[in-house]
Symmetry: C2
Subunit: 299 residues, 2 copies
C-alpha cells in the first residue's frame, strides 16, 4: 500500500468508523470530516511508519484514523468554547446543531478513537493517552490565560507545546512504534513531530493575524479578539487589542510577525535535523518536505 492509498483508506475509515444507530452522531461527525482539512497528523504518522522501516502501511491506517478523530474531537469542543460559527468554510457543529449535540459528538469521536486503538499495544496506547492528556491541559491553560488577559512567552510555548506539539509528536511516535523501530529512531521521529507541531501552530497564529479569510475558510482575528493571542501578540499594548486591523498592522510594523515566522522556521529546521539519524528514503524526504510546508503556507 502506498501513501496515497493509505490516506484514501484513512479517509474512508473516518467515515465508516463513526457509523452509529444514533444517526445524529454519525451525521454530525461526517459533517466535520467532509469539510476536509489537511490530514497532517495521519500523513505524518504514516510517513513516520514508513521512514522507520514499517513493512506494510495498511497496519498503521487505523492509528492514523484514530489520531485524526482525536484532533477532530478537540476542534469540535474548541468551537463550543470559542463560540465559533465557521470551520473549514462550513458551519461548526454548535452553529448547526447546538452546543449539546456538539459536546456529545466530540465525546462520541473520542470514544470511537479509543475503540479503534483497543487492538494496539499498551506502549502505543500509553503514548497516545499521554498526548491526549496534554492536549486537554493545553486547551485549559489557554482558556485560563485568555481569561486572565496575561500571556508571557514561556506560557505561550507551554500552551502550544501541550495543545499542538504533543499530538504531532504522538503521531510520529505511534508510526515509529508500530513499525517496530529501535528506541533512538522512535525518539528521533517524536522530536521531529514535536518541532513540526510547534512550527505549525506558530504559523497558525500568524495566519490568524495576517491571513486571507478566503484561503483560511474562517474569519481572521478570531483568536486575537478572544484574547487567545499567539506568539505575535506578545509585545502588544492591551489598548490596541480592541481593533483587529490596528493590532495586525502594529504587529507587522513592530516586527513581531517576522520574529514569529523566524521562530517557526527554526523549529521546522530542528524537525528536519532530527531525521538525520534515519536512513535516506522517500518517506524521510517527504517528512522533510512536510516540515517545510508547515511553515510555508497560506492556510
Amino acid at each position: 500500500m502506498d501513501l496515497d492509498t493509505a490516506l484514501a483508506s484513512v479517509e474512508s475509515q473516518l467515515h465508516t468508523s463513526v457509523a452509529s444507530d444514533t444517526s445524529l452522531l454519525s451525521e454530525a461527525s461526517r459533517h466535520m470530516f467532509a469539510a476536509g482539512g489537511k490530514r497532517l497528523r495521519p500523513r505524518l504518522l504514516l510517513l513516520a511508519y514508513s521512514a522507520a522501516g514499517g513493512p506494510e502501511l495498511g497496519q498503521a491506517v487505523p492509528l492514523a484514523t484514530a489520531i485524526e478523530i482525536i484532533h477532530t474531537a478537540s476542534l469540535i469542543h474548541d468551537d463550543i468554547n470559542d463560540h465559533s460559527e465557521l470551520r473549514r468554510g462550513r458551519p461548526t457543529i454548535n452553529a448547526r446543531w447546538g452546543t449539546t449535540v456538539a459536546l456529545l459528538t466530540g465525546d462520541f469521536l473520542f470514544t470511537k478513537a479509543y475503540q479503534l486503538m483497543a487492538p494496539y499495544s499498551s506502549q502505543v496506547n500509553a503514548a497516545l493517552a499521554e498526548a491526549c492528556v496534554a492536549l486537554v491541559e493545553g486547551e485549559t491553560l489557554q482558556v485560563e490565560t485568555a481569561k486572565a488577559g496575561s500571556l508571557d512567552r514561556e506560557t505561550y510555548f507551554r500552551i502550544i507545546s501541550k495543545k499542538t506539539a504533543s499530538l504531532f509528536a504522538a503521531a510520529a511516535r505511534l508510526g515509529a512504534l508500530q513499525a517496530g523501530a529501535a528506541a533512538d529512531t522512535v525518539a528521533a521521529l517524536a522530536t521531529y513531530g514535536y518541532n513540526v507541531g510547534l512550527a505549525f501552530q506558530i504559523v497558525d497564529d500568524v495566519l490568524d493575524v495576517i491571513g486571507d479569510p478566503a484561503a483560511l475558510g474562517k474569519p481572521v482575528g478570531a483568536d486575537l479578539v478572544q484574547g487567545k493571542f499567539g506568539l505575535p501578540a506578545l509585545t502588544t499594548p492591551t489598548a490596541m487589542r480592541e481593533t483587529v486591523a490596528a493590532l495586525a498592522e502594529h504587529l507587522v510594523n513592530n516586527g513581531t510577525i517576522e520574529e514569529a515566522l523566524r521562530q517557526a522556521h527554526k523549529f521546522a529546521g530542528r524537525a528536519a535535523t532530527a531525521l538525520d539519524l534515519l536512513p535516506p528514503s522517500s518517506a524521510r524526504s517527504a517528512l522533510i518536505a512536510l516540515a517545510r510546508s508547515a511553515v510555508e503556507r497560506d492556510h
Copy 2:
C-alpha cells in the same frame, strides 16, 4: 487485599490519577470525587473479579478507578447539557467554574481513564470502549427524545440500556476478564451487570419523581421538567408535565410508579439469577446483595 481495602485504594487512586500541572483540572476533578457517590461501578467490578476467581484484587483496582472516572466524566458533561447546579449536594463544576471548565474537565477525566487503561489487554480495552460508545449514544438518544417530546417504552429501554446498563455490564465484564475467567463466566457476570444497570436506572428515575431531595442531595423533578422522563412518565398526558407535584401525584395514583418498581425488581432478580452459574463465594453473595440494594434505596 480485601474489598474494603481495594475500594479505599480506588478512592485514593481517583485523587492521585488526576494530578496535573494544570491545577484547575485537578481541583475541579477532585471537587467531583470528594462529593462521594456510591462507587457502585468500581464495587461491582471488584466483586466480579473476586466472584470470577481473580487471585489478587489489587490487579483490578486501576480498572475500577478508570470506570468510576468515566462515569464521573459523563456526569460532568450531563450537568452542562442539563444546566444542573447541584450534584451530590454540592455545586456542579459548570455552576462553580463555568461551562468551558466543566467541558474540559470532562475531557480531561476521559483522557485520564484512557491512560489508566493503556497497560491492560486489548480485550479489556475493547469491552470498555464499546460501553463508552454506547454511553454517549444513550445520552444523545435521550437528548433527541427529550427535544422531540416523545418517549415510548421501547425508546426508554434503549436509552437506559445504552446510557447506564452498558457501563454496568462493562464493569462486571472487565472484572471477569481481568480474573481470567472462562467465557461463560464472563457472559454471566456481564448479564448480571447489565440487569443491575437497568434496575438501578429505573429506580433513579422513580426517585426523581417521588424521592426526598434531602436524601438525594439534589432537587426532585429535574428530569421531569426537562422532558427526560424515565419509565414513570410514559403514560402521562403532556399537559400535566408542567407541574412537577401534580405529575408526581398522577404517576403515583395511576400505578405507574408501582409498575416501574415492579420492573426494576424483575431486572434485579434476573441479575441475581445470572449468577447461578458461578460457584458460591462471599463475592457472589455480595453481588446478589448489591442487586437488591440497587432497587431498595432512597437515594
